[in-house]
Assembly symmetry: C2
Homo-oligomer: 101 residues x 2
């Protein structure tokens, strides 16, 4: 029964990372401010999880300018999108198997 | 969009805890050995997560004897069952919202 448990990705375990990836899958690219406000996080907490996901190769960071104001945006990479889809599939299996029993 | 994120329970975030609770929801009570073998975990890793779930009030531990051999079994509490159901519902929402976009 527990094969799907092994497809749950440790990099996405935390609620904050689930939230970040979920926002990036839906609307992409997303600014730091939008992520922060959607997920009700502090700067420090959000920044540390974004850094971890960037280091894992699951998102890329881009510095843009809005007028003369710098604006950092985040975008899921192809690897991130695929890994997160696999993670969601594993969670879906977990939910289905657990609920149906 | 992110209200369900707040219903994801930090106590169940880790893959190991998802696995433990999922096994307990399906077959209950369960021995240490069965949990260990179903989830492919080391004794130490499993024991530490079981202790955390017990401290949170989500499972109860019972020492039984099989013949003269001691056998420790684990059972989800009502609070654990309810909290885990809420967690699964939140994950289900996350999966549905992310996949449908």
């Amino acid at each position: 029964m527990n094969d799907y448990i092994n497809h749950i990705n440790k990099d996405f375990e935390s609620r904050v990372r689930l939230g970040i990836m979920s926002v990036l899958m839906v609307s992409d690219p997303v600014s730091f401010t939008v992520l922060k406000e959607s997920l009700h996080l502090t700067d420090g907490n959000l920044a540390s999880h974004l850094r971890a996901l960037e280091e894992a190769g699951y998102l890329r960071v881009e510095k843009q300018f809005v007028g003369r104001k710098p604006n950092t945006v985040y975008q899921a990479t192809l690897a991130g999108t695929e890994a997160f889809r696999n993670h969601l599939n594993a969670l879906e299996q977990l939910v289905l198997n657990t609920k149906s029993n």
